[in-house]
């Protein structure tokens, strides 16, 4: 009995000592030692050819202090610190930053990665690897392309948000209201690069000077072919692309009113698309059918548009606008010789035997693709008004 008890005590002692020793301190990273990165910018140093990496690090004191800016004599009152470093590669630069920060960067909370224009023109192929391979990086991190330098974009302090990187992430997340650009994360970008024929896209971010303040402006998409920047798409072209991909969430369509005296402004409520590739004796036809529903959100004419006849005409007009947007996107992609729609992949999936023979000549074949677009546009509501604000004419 005594022997059994003493054995139990030894067991208990071992258990407790394990609790202390096994929890371990090697590699411990306390929160006040972390340099929490919320945004990264990658530029090229033109003189040396090195990478210039800018990391936006949260200032812990400012983050804790809440609304009060510049707590503890912070000087300029910024709540973030843009620390940058040169390096032969991205990882090299990430490690070289420790010369300035005194700690390894903690990248798990990174929201955005912004590539400078130089890098985009040179090609992202060799720079994207680290962002997918490093275990702290998330595949859901957004990619953006700066119009000039990425570090400048990260420097522009927003008015309402504390952190530029968070602000940019927020801007990208609200893209659904216009469908003028869309969110692209590391995984999406990499899958397009893997496919070989599909061109990758990334939203473009720039700085606009407004009086004495710099504002961040995200609009349009940069088109990449084989990882290299080949051109840019404007608002309407991007939406044309999104119609085909079925990713339009919302947005505004402006059509002339039936009597041509004013405009009717429609808001997209819902959009769906179906794309069916067809191959007939060597010619490729893409059958695109789009179903769109919108609401009449504004009108600038005295004519009552909330009638069956007027709505029908508006529907026709909005279908025409959608068709034009799609054609604009398609013409642009032909001009850039970049398959932004992923038509190649669609044909690969449906006609994989024929695909082997045309894969190499895809760039030339892409120019000869025909689009058959069918748009079914519907106006499903007129919001709060059923007649315009204009003197009512009494019918005799």
């Amino acid at each position: 009995m005594i022997k059994k008890n003493s054995f139990l005590i030894i067991k208990l002692i071992i258990c407790f000592s394990m609790c202390i020793s096994l929890s371990g301190c090697s590699g411990a990273r306390e929160i006040n030692d972390l340099e929490i990165v919320i945004g990264m910018g990658v530029d090229k140093d033109k003189d040396t050819g090195d990478i210039l990496l800018t990391a936006q690090v949260v200032k812990k004191d400012a983050a804790v202090g809440g609304a009060g800016n510049g707590g503890g004599g912070g000087g300029d009152g910024k709540s973030f610190w843009n620390v940058s470093s040169n390096g032969k590669s991205i990882f090299d630069a990430v490690r070289q930053i420790t010369h300035k920060t005194g700690n390894r960067l903690f990248i798990s909370h990174n929201q955005v990665v912004i590539f400078g224009n130089d890098i985009a023109e040179e090609g992202l192929q060799e720079y994207i690897d680290f962002f997918l391979r490093a275990h702290e990086m998330r595949p859901t991190t957004m990619i953006l392309i700066a119009e000039k330098k990425a570090s400048e974009v990260l420097d522009a302090k927003p008015e309402t948000e504390k952190y530029p990187a968070m602000n940019i992430a927020k801007l990208v997340e609200t893209s659904g209201f216009t469908s003028h650009f869309f969110e692209v994360n590391m995984k999406d970008f990499a899958s397009c690069m893997m496919s070989g024929t599909t061109a990758s896209l990334a939203p473009s971010v720039s700085i606009v000077q407004e009086k004495d303040n710099k504002d961040i402006y995200v609009a349009g998409m940069v088109v990449f072919k084989n990882g290299k920047m080949v051109g840019k798409m404007n608002h309407d072209e991007v939406r044309g692309l999104l119609w085909v991909l079925g990713k339009v969430k919302s947005g505004v369509i402006i059509v002339p009113s039936p009597n041509k005296q004013g405009k009717a402004i429609l808001e997209i409520v819902k959009a769906k698309s179906k794309v069916k590739p067809e191959m007939k004796d060597g010619r490729i036809v893409m059958n695109i059918s789009i179903k769109e529903e919108s609401s009449l959100s504004e009108q600038t004419t005295t004519e009552n548009l909330a009638t069956d006849k007027a709505l029908e005409k508006l529907q026709e007009a909005s279908a025409e606008v959608i068709r034009q947007e799609i054609m604009a996107a398609f013409n642009k992609s032909r001009e850039l010789k970049a398959d932004i729609f992923g038509f190649g992949e669609m044909i690969h999936k449906k006609y994989h035997k024929e695909w082997k023979t045309i894969e190499d000549k895809w760039d030339e074949i892409y120019q000869t693709i025909e689009l058959k677009i069918e748009v079914d546009s519907k106006i499903i509501k007129t919001d709060l008004l059923k007649k315009p604000v204009s003197p009512i004419k009494k019918e005799k």
Partner: protein
Amino acid sequence: MNIEKGKISGQQLLFLIAGFVHGSALLIDFTVGITEHQTWMVILAGLIITVPVILSYVVLAKRFPEMNLVQINDMVYGRFLGKVISIYYIFFFLMTLSFNIRDVGELYITFLMQDTPFIFFLIVFTATVSYAVAKGIEVLARVSHLFVVTGLFAIISTFILLIDQMDFSNFLPLFELPFIKIFQGIHIVSAIPFGETVVFLMIMGCLNNTEHAVKKTFLGLMIGVVSLLIVAIRNTAVLGGIQTIWTSTSFQSIRLINIGTVLTRMDFLIGIAQTILIFLKCSIFFYVSVTAISQLFGLKSYLPLVLPLAGIEVIVAATVFQSPVDHATITQNAGIIYSVPLIFIFPPLSLLIAKIRGLPKPERGKGT
């Protein structure tokens, strides 16, 4: 005499097999690199090929009730040849065990705890496995229910959370890859998750009732296969063409979970499920190894073997491969070859010989 006195029920066998097959979900990555978007059909094809083989295991176990594999080998092939074959089996068990222990270490070192020494995970994990094995097969069998349910929960919940990101056109074109690749994939799948169930020949002797053994085995196998299929379909649908580049496809697809920016970073779910299920798998392998060795040498109990073998296993696991790259290459190309006779040839052959020779002979009684 069979070395194990413990008894398990048919229901427990069902969950042991389900957890065992499901425990290989991480190893599907060996196949994904080769068979890409056709992995799901490779799993199904592998299943179809292994079904008759697994049937032969169960029939063999039923024919030799309360006997384990070593005893069966002795009886069917005679003392000398039987022992040689048994040693081959033991080698296979020990090597596979060390590979699986290494898998856990690699899982942790790559995804969960980067800075911790590799050997630490191996030691802690193997110590836990040894503890479980020392407690006997009955204990393992009783907890297997819980393990399988946890694993299924993780798989199904991640599947549901990722449904909005799935693109089912990723499965097209259906038949694109050259046959040789599919064949290699089928070989891997039929050898690793399914064929390894040959270890249950060591355990089926403990069944208290062999009446429904066939039904229970296949039900367990089905649960395992369905979970593997869910994993393969989820990964392909979510990642598409990019799925071949990742070290672990499952981890990568789960890192994509992003529901309202609140439900993110669900990596821990698969970490928990995988650890638990590989633990079950390793425990079964370890248990089978120690019982086979002690049966071979006629020991009274397998307990004295547990700790020394655990030490050897840790060292083998730490040194057998240089890197995950090495691990994948050897498993894909060599590992599945040496196990072919053990999985596909000996059990059906034993059954055939036993039928011809009319074994086991009733007058000779049980045991050797």
